[in-house]
Symmetry: C3
Subunit: 304 residues, 3 copies
């Protein structure tokens, strides 16, 4: 692993290696406190994503590295100055040992990696990929279920535009005997290329239109925010599938409720105290998964 650009780059063995290292880091964080000593990681964000940026930066710092950072990267390519993304990457790559990039264009991470003299980690490329989110999602499932093979996973909400859902189902397709339930309004269904992708890999995909179509013993409920900003107001489904305490109690005591956050009202606060609500833990695992990825990459780099 040199760059982290896309979910598509990970094999099942890759994920297992990342998960093992993540477990090690969580078990003995002090052993990793100087792993990136002397390394500088640049967080280059063309659009603010404070949560993701802080998670990456904390990961670097917990490994003993240091950070240079901007949320104003678009200023470098502003109308007046007119710099291309590849030029920016080539310049900043001379200051640091890795670049964490957030950019609105779907091909930005690949474009950056092509010219970069240091590893590039994709922290969100427009409506495209957000691979570290996908890895942390699967890691969270693995933490609570101790396996991925054979699981039943329900994805809820915005299956059409939900980037995290698309990445999650792709990674799940690396495993055996997976069943995926997709609960959404009709206009927010999973795109056909994804359902075809799953079918081609022997994953059962079952579209649903109401909560009771999901079996109560499902292992994972993965809810998402409707990307209302992508709709003209009039197109928007009026009601969301709200998971509140009552809805959650329809499910097994062993079902876990995940969400990439931020949530709005699709998950009610009355479930926050429920042991099955693991979305805050999920966000915290994100830092450790990013530590694991950074460690793998910059270790490799220093040996290479």
């Amino acid at each position: 692993m040199y760059h982290v650009l896309s979910c598509d780059q990970f094999s099942r063995a890759d994920l297992e290696g990342i998960f093992r290292l993540t477990d090690n880091i969580r078990a003995q964080p002090r052993a990793f406190r100087t792993a990136l000593a002397g390394k500088i990681v640049a967080t280059v964000f063309y659009e603010p994503s404070t949560r993701t940026r802080l998670s990456f930066e904390a990961a670097v710092l917990r490994l003993g590295g240091t950070v240079i950072s901007t949320e104003n990267a678009k200023e470098m390519s502003s109308a007046i100055k007119g710099e291309s993304l590849p030029d920016t990457i080539r310049v900043i790559g001379g200051y640091c040992d890795a670049i964490v990039l957030r950019h609105p264009d779907i091909r930005s991470a690949e474009d950056a990696a092509r010219v970069s003299q240091v590893p590039v980690l994709n922290a969100g490329s427009g409506s495209g990929e957000h691979p570290t989110q996908a890895v942390l999602d699967v890691y969270t499932i693995y933490q609570y279920k101790q396996k991925i093979d054979g699981l039943k996973v329900a994805v809820l909400g915005d299956l059409l535009f939900g980037r995290t859902v698309h990445s999650l189902v792709k990674l799940l397709a690396l495993y055996e005997d997976i069943t995926i339930y997709g609960l959404s309004h009709d206009v927010l269904s999973l795109p056909e290329d994804y359902s075809a992708y799953l079918e081609a890999r022997g994953i059962r995909y079952i579209p649903c239109r109401s909560l009771p179509e999901i079996p109560p013993e499902v292992d994972v409920l993965y809810h998402t925010r409707t990307q209302t900003e992508r709709f003209a107001n009039t197109d928007l489904p009026i009601e969301e599938f709200v998971i509140d305490k009552k809805a959650l109690d329809y499910f097994s005591p062993h079902t876990i409720l995940m969400h990439p956050l931020p949530r709005r009202n699709e998950i009610a606060p009355d479930v926050d105290g429920d042991r099955r609500a693991v979305f805050f833990a999920q966000s915290h695992y994100g830092m450790y998964v990013r530590m694991s990825l950074l460690h793998s990459i910059l270790k490799q780099d220093s040996e290479g």
Copy 2:
């Protein structure tokens, strides 16, 4: 001490402990250079307050800690994403060891502390509290006067909206034999609940309308900026009480002139070279007081 939320939480003994530690840190800063090694402090600012943020961040770094930072925290709760402050705190609390929070809502610090898994330090909650500013103000007086009991303190300017004045008089009320002179225009007088608070604690409070009503031997002049942004333009008093060299020379050579900064024209530049003008030293003590608070909290935390 776990959180720092409000002036109301400090006893006289607390302040004396903080002041003693601040003196120690200033006397031998090298002894504290690794006190927060391995700790990450997040500065989470929903409105920019560069001065306060940099002061806190320098405090963390001088203790050997590291910082993750945002001045765009409001983006996390923006209209589209719609995340609540408690959710944001729960997420960020998983990345760091303490949160320094600046937020426009008066109850924000308490709301954050209620859900946070790490200590919260209030760096300004709207028109409400800014407790570390109040502690550094009293520490500054203590530095120059070697005591607080028995002092005569004049507060000037905007006593109605001036958050720092409100907090200062509350902390002074912890001491014995204090006299407070309050010089302001009529429309900017100290609110009645504060004067009642002082009276209930045996503090003499003497409202004034002109400079000569303050005795020349007053120990402290604490001037403040009129919060013009809170007025309709037409309501604004036309003249400020300007302290220039001539005005300052009315007072004793032992009077000190303080200001929480930024100043505008209420303190003229011609006093800057005067030994009694201590407002820049006051701002610098702020960093050391914050080091003291951070040290107390994160030390306690690591032992707890």
Copy 3:
């Protein structure tokens, strides 16, 4: 050297000292990894200049120092708060060991240095100076040519408003037997005070209006972006002097092509792979030159 404010402060011997230290740092970076341990450098930017800021911050971190940073410094002096630059500098100077300042006013760096209790490094003062850029430009020439005396240097593009050109020719004037070719449209010619400055120091300055007026064996082509933001649209020369592969091949294999970046279309991407195109290396030398300057200043400071 205490402050870095202007190109005018450097003698030839100063530059040679800086270049020698820069060479040392590049040769054995590990030997400098703790040089600034315990030092805090504040990057105080009144206008965003992400590239320059990140370069300075990486320089501090590579020397083992730490950084406090703002791109919102103008907020500290905003209309409502109304703080003067000197006040801001006096406050922030109490938190850190050096200030890197970017400010739109031409006299800002001198104004800051006059009141600062710590060294000030000018990272760009409006249309005035950007001295560390000038030093890195000359260092880059020195790297590729192993000398400056006797060189033929062509400056291209916006010689009227191009701050980096003005600083570069001033530093070149410290050396012997220099010839400078100035290629620009008539309305963008080098200002007369600069050509008079060069003449007074025995530097040959030869204005050109087309590329073939520059001899092919010129040692350096230093191209610049036209500062279109300074023109009313109608004033703007229609065509730029574009250096593409064909234009570059008119020159000697030993000519180097520099640019302070960002570029737009004045240098075509088809030269990027050419060995003579050194503008990305030039930007990377910037970090090392800034390490050298910071090291000189803060070392001196700790001994002083």
